[in-house]
């Protein structure tokens, strides 16, 4: 009884996603000079929550006997985010316009910065569209971040990778198909967009970043006017049938934007 497998409960699709991230996905940015990024800060913060969760899961996976309760709760959180992203249609935009050559921790930093600068994320429905010029400066910034942060992570990366590899071998190709599809999509880089960010602004106010996240993702501040909470509500409940209708306008806005993006990117 005690020889049972312990903690390989991490769903394969999580591992697949992370594995792919480190391999063959470095060529799309070059192919798409016109990268236009569209994303609400709610999506960004959801993305950073996802990244945070994936890092936690990876660390769990390294342990022979992780805290099972904690790991299961984190995996369920990831499932929930994935479900919501699939349903609210936020990920197809990313698929076509953006890619990632970063690991999750890099992106975490990148999105954190965005949370900080976007004080105006109060008005969630205004999506910020960034032109190529802006994007360029930002990419430089991100690159430098990548360098610093990858120096911090490699301690656990090779090991975990090995674990996933093994996990992957066990997997049969049948069940890998749908998950590949899903994660092929949203593993791609989250759009990092700020309206005209200045570097100084980006690095200011470091410690408050997660307060924004808190407000966004726990969504408890009972401000009656349209704020992050309302958007959260509409997005997070969008997959429950009862609320779909009430959020229809928001959803159709998103879909329309998706469509425009597809046209611009030429996919």
């Amino acid at each position: 009884q005690c020889e049972e497998e312990w903690a390989n409960f991490t769903p394969n699709w999580l591992l697949v996603r992370t594995k792919r991230k480190f391999s063959d996905n470095e060529d799309i940015v070059e192919e798409n000079p016109v990268s236009i990024k569209v994303m609400s800060s709610y999506n960004l913060q959801r993305q950073s929550l996802l990244d945070m969760s994936l890092i936690k899961l990876q660390l769990c996976h390294m342990l022979a006997e992780p805290n099972l309760c904690r790991s299961v709760l984190i995996a369920n959180t990831v499932r929930q985010i994935q479900e919501e992203m699939t349903l609210d249609g936020s990920w197809p935009v990313m698929t076509e316009t953006l890619n990632t050559n970063q690991n999750p921790s890099d992106r975490l930093i990148a999105t954190e910065i965005l949370c900080r600068t976007s004080k105006d994320c109060e008005e969630e429905k205004t999506f910020s569209v960034v032109t190529y010029d802006n994007l360029h400066t930002e990419e430089v910034l991100e690159d430098s971040l990548c360098i610093t942060s990858t120096e911090e992570v490699p301690v656990f990366l090779p090991n975990t990778f090995g674990a996933w590899e093994r996990e992957d071998l066990k997997k049969n190709s049948d069940d890998s198909k749908p998950t590949d599809q899903v994660f092929g999509a949203f593993e791609l880089k989250s759009p990092v967009a700020t309206p005209d960010p200045s570097i100084d602004e980006l690095f200011s106010d470091v410690d408050t970043s997660y307060y924004d996240l808190d407000t966004m993702l726990t969504g408890i501040h009972g401000t009656p006017k349209m704020g992050p909470y309302d958007l959260l509500d509409s997005l997070s409940s969008s997959h429950s049938p009862s609320s779909v209708t009430s959020n229809l306008s928001c959803r159709s806005d998103l879909n329309e934007l998706d469509h425009i993006m597809e046209i611009i990117v030429g996919s």
Binding site: Q1, E3, A64, T77, Q80, D214, L217, T218, L232, S236
Partner: protein, 454 residues
């Protein structure tokens, strides 16, 4: 009756006047050093003894001093009675894995003779310990001398009868049973049945039933492990036997539900007989909903009519006859609701707070951060926040209630949410079975508080 007296007492000293105080700093405030964080606290059935287990695998038992007329202020002090190493760090060679010695739970057996018995468990192994006193020793053996050496047979010329001679009191702890090799996952709960013959041990996915006398066989009574571990979405977080129906037990889950099972129904209680779940409030929905609804502790009331569950932000009292929603819900630290993302990031959101009933089931207590703990009076609906801290509590001083300020202006004596210390948390506490004495573990420190006399 006794229940009324208890309530009156509580009214008088705790909530109305906040008259908590240390009895004696030297003896009632016990300070552990080093890595030995207290991981469990438990009074025995009379309240005469208090056991703590720590991260280093040690069990420390405190005994209450007898009342003395000469020193009335020393009434009820708890002094160290016995200390022993219950669990040692082990190494699982098959899995290349270290098994921590940390004591996860201690449960006392009802006392049946002069000796005391307790169960202690780490992640994998439960042990039954006998704690007994020795005040006399035999002297005058024929074949060996008083030091235990064999005597030269030629010197033995007469036969004598050994006699028991008084000696300094010694407290011995001896391991009587070791229940091992039955848990693949980490044991989170043990509970002695009211038949006093069996007990159960629960890990993340299974619950086993043991006879206290038999170590090489246990019965699996709950198993929620899916055939494919990738489908695992729920774990068992706590389990307990009913205080007087020996066929009934409950277990709680990481999805915020409680299942009550009847062992008479089937050998394997995969089908619960009652399922307690509160419908989710859609207005509070967030990504953290499931995590904060995960139940960290479940405790039957002494009467057996109610049970109490603790989740991350609340403590709930359930009537065993009502499965649809809790009877009472108390907010422990609702001001953290807006900080959940940070608490997720720093892993505090996975902290497992325990909860306890007072002797008459009228007051409940549970812990929080910043060395704060909370008490809720079920009758008056009043509550109080107190602090277990060496700095803020002088010996015999009355404990001041603390208040956390939520937004807006901070008044004097209030502490703002942002300055709470999340490394100081009160996870474990215990309430004397019949008196208003509580034991609170704050990292390495054990605090014992008692209501003011007169």
């Amino acid at each position: 009756g006794q229940m009324d007296t208890q309530t009156d007492l509580y009214e008088r000293w705790s909530v109305t006047d906040h008259r908590w105080h240390f009895i004696d700093s030297q003896l009632l405030y016990i300070h552990y050093r080093g890595p030995d964080i207290i991981s469990t606290v438990e009074f025995n059935h009379t309240g005469e003894l208090l056991a703590t287990g720590d991260k280093g695998g040690r069990v420390v038992i405190f005994q209450r001093e007898q009342e003395s007329k000469n020193q009335p202020h020393r009434r009820g002090e708890y002094n160290v009675y016995s200390t022993f190493q219950s669990h040692e760090p082990e190494f699982d060679y098959l899995k290349s894995l270290e098994i921590e010695e940390k004591i996860n739970k201690i449960r006392w057996l009802p006392q049946q003779n002069a000796a005391y018995f307790l169960l202690s468990t780490n992640d994998k192994t439960v042990k039954l310990w006998k704690v007994s006193e020795r005040g006399r020793r035999p002297e005058g053996y024929n074949l060996k001398d008083d030091d235990g050496r064999i005597r030269d047979p030629s010197t033995i010329t007469m036969l004598r009868v050994p006699v028991l001679q008084p000696m300094d009191l010694m407290v011995e702890a001896t391991p009587r049973r070791v229940f091992s090799n039955a848990h693949t996952y980490h044991i989170n709960s043990i509970s002695v049945n009211s038949d006093y013959e069996t007990y159960m041990s629960a890990d993340d996915l299974r619950i086993n039933l043991w006879n206290l006398e038999i170590t090489n066989r246990s019965f699996n009574i709950v198993d929620i492990k899916p055939a494919n571990m990738e489908e695992l979405t729920e774990v068992i977080t706590a389990a307990e036997f009913h205080p007087n129906q020996c066929n009934t037990f409950v277990y709680s889950s990481s999805k915020g539900t409680i299942r009550l099972c009847d062992m008479r129904a089937a050998a394997l209680c995969d089908k619960h007989s009652k399922f307690f779940e509160e419908p989710e409030d859609p207005s509070n929905r967030s990504f953290f909903s499931e995590i904060i609804s995960s139940i960290s502790d479940v405790k039957f009331s002494h009467s057996g009519r109610y049970m109490m569950t603790r989740d991350y932000l609340t403590v709930k009292v359930w009537d065993l006859n009502m499965e649809s929603r809790p009877l009472e819900t108390y907010q422990v630290h609702d001001y953290l609701r807006s900080k959940l993302c940070s608490l997720y990031e720093n892993d505090c959101i996975f902290d497992k707070f325990e909860c306890v009933w007072n002797g008459s089931d009228s007051v409940i207590m549970t812990g929080s951060y910043n060395n704060f703990f909370r008490m809720f009076d079920r009758n008056t609906k009043r509550d109080v926040t107190l602090e277990a801290s060496r700095e803020n509590s002088k010996p015999r001083a009355i404990l001041k209630p603390r208040k956390v300020c939520v937004g807006g202006k901070r008044r004097k004596d209030e502490i703002s949410v942002d300055s709470l210390d999340f490394s100081k948390k009160i996870l474990h506490s215990a309430w004397h079975p019949s008196e208003n004495i509580i034991a609170v573990a704050a990292t390495n420190n054990l605090y014992i508080f008692q209501d003011k006399v007169n």
